[in-house]
């Protein structure tokens, strides 16, 4: 990131290569359309390029930082366009795909981590996983979720917190390792 900060395009390209799939996957999962996901990733990486100086390694990994930008950008895109009726990634039947050549040790480890997170999310009571998914991937506010589910706001917020706490227990240190 030091080099990106100094305007090194090759260093930026390395950062892109490392994190583009995770970034695009998150953007696509959230927005549900390829074009919007591409715009979100483009905006996120360009803002990263233009503001690399704001990365503070004491606050987490580059990956977390990049994905944080993507998440915020995707929420903006969702709330701007109110495309909450968008098609979901699963609606388009897109399967998880990584080229065989990309299955490096890192990718294998990443897949194991992904499985662990999905398992932890799936293990939650449905009412907790639902509010977490609607909030994080759907970009909905807790007020919108409360209205959608016809549930009191306090209950929705409580479910979010309890669900995340349970996931923390399930993840057994993965969260700390990724931080």
């Amino acid at each position: 990131m030091q080099l990106v900060r100094r305007g090194d395009t090759l260093a930026f390209e390395v950062v892109y290569e490392r994190h583009a799939t995770a970034a695009f996957s998150l953007a696509y999962r959230m927005t549900g359309t390829r074009n919007v996901a591409e715009d979100v990733v483009q905006e996120a990486f360009l803002s990263l390029w233009r503001s690399g100086a704001r990365y503070d390694r004491t606050r987490g990994s580059v990956r977390t930082w990049v994905l944080g930008i993507v998440h915020n950008r995707a929420i903006d895109a969702l709330r701007r366009s109110m495309v909450h009726d968008r098609r979901r990634a699963t609606d388009e039947g897109i399967e998880e795909r990584l080229e065989a050549g990309e299955r490096t040790d890192v990718e294998v480890a990443r897949r194991d981590e992904a499985r662990e997170v999905r398992t932890a999310l799936a293990a939650l009571p449905p009412e907790q996983s639902r509010v977490i998914e609607l909030a994080y991937f759907g970009g909905f506010t807790h007020t919108e979720i409360a209205s959608m589910l016809d549930t009191p706001i306090g209950t929705v917020k409580g479910r979010m917190r309890l669900g995340l706490q349970k996931m923390r227990g399930e993840l057994n240190g993965l969260a700390e390792a990724l931080a």
Binding site: G7, S25, Q42, I69, Y136, M160, R161, L162
Partner: protein, 262 residues
């Protein structure tokens, strides 16, 4: 020890608080040990959630699009020298949801370089600088007095007339057509940029300096049609300035075209 705001911690790390609530919670956090601890623990979990998304490789052309902008901007920065290098980063926009939790908001911003005068995009409104009345009529030609008036529209593309400000171009017109979040700018009867300069399109979002685009153009016979790169969602003004060849990271001149997307 507990806190009545503790339940907000989950919504906070998930980005699910409304703007007002987010602001309030951000103000509350620094003074509340309970909530700070809660946020720290839950944030770690929230940071793992992207892993739950099915992994999909981005299209290769996306990288090309991004890298072409990055290389162009790097070339501009290099050409401008180290003094210009600091400006864009210092002015780097807060990310869209700058107040949301995450890695960006807390990161320190670089000190802004001192400028001799405030640039036009930092003025309270994006009005052009006042022009002495005596020369105003000769210099300022606003075509379509109701710049920004919707002149065609529908469910799909919508076109608005842009405000054109150009010396010696009495017949100049410009219109911006937006389709979903894409925009196309068309200019007619517009003079060529001054020697050594090129027109550059900028995207202005509320409360932020204009973002440069890679849309650089000149006019042929007074006409040009320019696809505005990227999304114009959230953009309140599309601007055009005459910049040195290769474009700039921040505007060096006042806008000659101002369009407000429909």
């Amino acid at each position: 020890m507990t806190c009545e705001h503790r339940d907000d911690a989950g919504a906070w790390v998930l980005g699910a608080l409304s703007d007002d609530e987010r602001e309030r919670f951000a103000g509350h956090l620094p003074g509340c040990e309970v909530c700070m601890r809660e946020v720290a623990e839950l944030q770690m979990v929230a940071d793992t959630l992207p892993l739950a998304a099915p992994q999909i490789a981005p299209p290769p052309e996306l990288k090309e699009r991004i890298m072409s902008v990055v290389r162009a901007e790097a070339a501009v920065m290099q050409a401008a020298g180290p003094a210009a290098d600091a400006a864009p980063a210092a002015e780097a926009p807060g990310e869209g949801a700058a107040a949301r939790p995450g890695p960006e908001p807390a990161a320190p911003e670089r000190e802004r370089p001192r400028k001799k005068r405030r640039s036009w995009w930092r003025l309270p409104s994006l009005a052009l600088r006042p022009i002495p009345a005596a020369v105003a009529a000769a210099v300022l030609i606003a075509i379509g007095v109701g710049g920004g008036v919707l002149i065609s529209g529908g469910d799909e593309a919508r076109t608005v007339q842009a405000q054109v400000v150009a010396p010696s171009s009495p017949g100049a017109r410009a219109a911006l057509t937006t389709d979903d979040d894409r925009a196309t700018l068309r200019v007619r009867g517009f003079p060529a940029p001054p020697p050594g300069r090129v027109y550059q399109v900028w995207l202005k979002r509320p409360g932020r300096p204009p973002d440069p685009t890679t849309a650089l153009f000149t006019t042929r016979g007074g006409d040009a049609t320019v696809e505005v790169p990227g999304s114009v969602a959230g953009v309140d003004q599309v601007l055009v300035t005459a910049e040195p060849d290769g474009g700039s990271q921040e505007p060096t001149r006042d806008p000659v075209i101002i369009a407000s997307p429909a």
